[in-house]
């Protein structure tokens, strides 16, 4: 029934089967939408946030999806600026994942603010000293760039491709895509960094505060670095997941191998910088403020030293070592373990920079603040996952996302 919309030379499941899949995802989406509406109409009292936890699950999810969506800017940078041409076979998917991640981040932010209708104040009454202002500007601009990067792919839909204007527009946009990729890389450097700066500039919160260069705390650079390292890992993870669901090989191994190798080196160098940052923070920054490292990893029921080990060793050093080594990348099980660990690692980093920062006591006469999210927070955080899966499902069905699909899956 929808065969006219399906790209030529590829096989897709029946419309009935596709509809059932979409309906299942829509049910999850609706659960999130209900929670979202509750938060908008009844207020943030629907959450388990409180005055100690002004930032909680949503801000973590924001930071995490933006880091994971970093695959779009870094893969674009490698393809268009560095000239790694093989990556043209995965760049479309990286862009789609980026669009999903960034629109999700904006949606979560729209739910998270107490007065959503005033959100435009951040642009109109912008405070140039605030990292959040920089985040808002760069993030919005970059989303526009991502949409521009996505449009040519959208216009390649068989139906749209028949319109001469759209076909020519798509062709011409492809020609100048390097300009957008460079713009995207520039904007991403700043907003990924600014998100690190959001935590790093909090000089009243010793757990998050970092010294740095000029106005930028070290977390500024670490966040950009880790997003560039782990974003592509997320792209690979979703690609492999899509292959599993569709039961097809969609991207050749050499493409994934190249992206994984670069990610491995990025992760390896990032983790060295992270170790140095942690050491400097523990040895110099914290003692000046009257704290020692262990103060932030003891006397509470959850945040032990294990979380630091998990972030740096298990989800940092180990996946970096696997991805850097040729043998590690060739062993499928080991490879996927490394990819998953890298993704978890960056999520742990964002978690601690948001939630552990809120949890740790600063005044001597206060204790740790513990928090668990309400179902409304959980549902609204799962909402983007369902939305992303629906977006990908439609994009995969109706757009030629994977240039190698036809070659890898010939139709008899």
């Amino acid at each position: 029934m929808d065969s006219a919309l399906i790209p030529e030379g590829v096989k897709r499941c029946s419309l009935g089967r596709f509809s059932v899949w979409i309906l299942a995802l829509t049910a999850i989406l609706l659960w999130g939408v209900i929670a979202m509406l509750l938060c908008w109409f009844k207020g943030l009292n629907q959450t388990n946030m409180n005055d100690a936890y002004g930032f909680a699950l949503w801000i973590w999810a924001d930071l995490a999806v933006i880091a994971l969506g970093g695959g779009a800017f870094f893969t674009g940078f490698l393809k268009y600026i560095v000239g790694k041409d093989e990556l043209k076979n995965i760049i479309n998917y990286a862009v789609i994942i980026g669009v999903i991640c960034y629109t999700s981040a904006l949606l979560l932010l729209a739910i998270d603010v107490g007065q959503p209708l005033r959100s435009w104040f951040i642009f109109w009454h912008a405070n140039v000293h605030s990292m959040l202002t920089e985040v808002a500007f760069c993030l919005s601009c970059y989303l526009v760039v991502l949409i521009i990067e996505f449009l040519p792919l959208l216009f390649e839909n068989p139906k749209l491709d028949k319109k001469p204007f759209l076909r020519h527009l798509s062709h011409n946009m492809h020609e100048i895509m390097a300009v957008f990729a460079a713009t995207g890389a520039f904007l991403s450097f700043f907003h990924q960094g600014s998100l690190g700066g959001v935590a790093g500039v909090l000089f009243g919160r010793p757990f998050a505060f970092r010294e740095g260069v000029f106005i930028w705390p070290w977390t500024f650079f670490l966040f950009t670095w880790s997003a560039a390292a782990c974003g592509p890992c997320f792209t690979i993870l979703i690609t492999r997941l899509t292959e599993k669901v569709t039961n097809k090989k969609l991207v050749k191994d050499n493409v994934v191998d190249l992206l994984a190798k670069i990610s491995g080196w990025m992760l390896g160098t990032y983790i060295i910088a992270k170790i140095f940052d942690t050491w400097y923070w523990a040895a110099y920054t914290l003692p000046k403020q009257g704290f020692s490292l262990i103060d932030f990893y003891s006397n509470n029921p959850f945040y032990g030293i294990w979380i630091l080990v998990a972030e740096i060793v298990i989800c940092g050093i180990i996946p970096a070592a696997i991805l850097i080594s040729s043998g590690g990348r060739k062993n499928k099980r080991l490879f996927m373990t490394a990819i998953i660990l890298a993704v978890i690692g960056v999520c742990i980093n964002r978690w601690v920079m948001v939630l552990q920062t809120m949890a740790a006591p600063v005044m001597t006469f206060e204790g740790w603040f513990m928090y668990y999210p309400s179902w409304q927070e959980v549902a609204t955080t799962i909402l983007p996952v369902a939305y992303g899966a629906i977006f990908i499902s439609f994009a995969y069905r109706y757009l030629p996302i994977f240039p190698q699909e036809r070659e890898l899956n010939p139709i008899d």
């Binding site: 007065q115 405070n127 010793p206 403020q289 005044m363």
Partner: protein, 258 residues
């Protein structure tokens, strides 16, 4: 102000004598009443209660007969940070909170705030509060709200303003009387007025004639979390060493600030 009035920068602040504070909570009540602070039907969950002024109970952790307690009232510290870059002011993305260089007061513009709560994350004193719900007062009580203070809507952050409206009223009165200065007792916060033990002293920290100028120089005076560089304008006084030490974080081998 009359023409030709000499402009001098003020720096309003407090000195709270912790040896005098009995923990009666009159300052908290006065503050809530003066500033139209809303309350919940059930106030047992304190983490989302709004208390611009909050009294903490500190213990020295020792057993009888050395056990000792101290009550510590904590308003907004109106941090100066480095040249006005208070922890909360510099992070607000919409300039909804501002450092007034003429008074040293950190203000909150409720109609500008869009509720991102970054300022709350930045404040180490937990002095900032979010309106998690619509402000509702028991029937009839809304008639007794202070007309000089605007109630805040759901979804914005609020905090102690050093009763800034009282400063405005004092200025208006002085202007009407042809004066260009206000006296120390003409601008006092509600908490300072209400304290039965006279533990809270409020005034211009830059004015040698004001009590706070003298009190802040006492060697037993300290500020909370000074080492973080927040540069607060609320000073505390205690003759007890353990109380002074509780004001900041120190490594085990470190001595508290003299």
């Amino acid at each position: 102000m009359s023409k030709g009035s000499k402009h001098k920068v003020k720096k309003f602040g407090m000195v709270i004598d912790l040896d005098k504070c009995t923990g009666c909570g009159a300052c908290m009540v006065a503050c809530m009443s003066e500033n139209n602070v809303p309350f919940k039907e059930n106030e047992s969950k304190k983490l989302d209660s709004i208390t611009w002024m909050r009294v903490y109970k500190l213990e020295n952790g020792k057993s009888f007969p050395e056990a000792d307690i101290c009550f510590l009232p904590r308003p907004c510290m109106h941090c100066e940070g480095d040249r006005g870059h208070a922890p909360c002011v510099s992070v607000c993305p919409a300039i909804a909170t501002d450092y007034d260089h003429n008074t040293g007061i950190v203000s909150q513009i409720y109609t500008r705030c869009f509720g991102c709560r970054y300022c709350m994350a930045a404040c180490p004193y937990h002095a900032r509060y979010f309106n998690w719900r619509d402000p509702v007062w028991p029937e009839g009580m809304e008639k007794f709200l202070n007309p000089n203070v605007s109630p805040r809507m759901r979804g914005v952050v609020e905090k102690c303003s050093f009763c800034h409206h009282r400063y405005q009223l004092a200025l208006d009165k002085a202007y009407a009387e042809g004066r260009d200065k206000i006296e120390e007792d003409e601008y006092q916060t509600a908490c300072a007025h209400a304290c039965p033990a006279n533990a809270i002293t409020f005034g211009d920290l830059n004015n040698k004639k004001h009590s706070v100028y003298r009190l802040k120089k006492n060697p037993n005076t300290f500020r909370l979390l000074e080492r973080l560089g927040t540069n607060p304008k609320v000073y505390y006084h205690s003759s007890r060493e353990w109380v002074r030490r509780a004001g900041d974080n120190y490594l085990k081998h470190e001595a508290a600030k003299a």
